[in-house]
Symmetry: C2
Subunit: 85 residues, 2 copies
């Protein structure tokens, strides 16, 4: 059983209210270290057997069509979980 990781982030120019909300909560936990926080999505796609080139291509296609909204988001990574980023 293989796993493919897909990572999606809001485009830099897009307002990220969730990231801002998280950024605002950190000082209340005594954490002042971070100047900005951006929040995106991380997907784990499971395949039967090992991850093939075709499965990676299908994951990239899924990333652009279903897992992200190309108008406001960028797909920043698609990779075999075993092979690492």
């Amino acid at each position: 059983m293989g796993r493919i990781i897909v990572e999606v982030m809001p485009k830099p120019e897009i307002l990220d209210p969730q990231g801002k909300a998280v950024r605002g909560a950190l000082p209340r936990q005594g954490i002042e270290t971070f100047t900005d926080v951006r929040q995106g999505k991380r997907f784990e796609l499971t395949v039967d057997g090992p991850v093939s080139e075709q499965a990676l291509e299908d994951a990239a296609k899924a990333a652009e069509s279903v897992l992200s909204n190309p108008i406001i988001e960028d797909v920043v990574a698609v990779y075999d979980a075993e092979a690492g980023r």
Copy 2:
């Protein structure tokens, strides 16, 4: 300016309705490759200057207290974006 990546996923035993919804949408795009899809969160935390050990510790603390809900989610990675996973 350094960046720390924090990755959070729903605990395996927790129902993941978003992942199921995505899984159900893929065949409509002609993608039958994936037996399961799980959806989590990916954060980018920005720091002034390079990423220090202290910043990584603060990111791990933030991950457990603000960026995830320990009851239903696991923090699966905290790392310096430059150094990679």
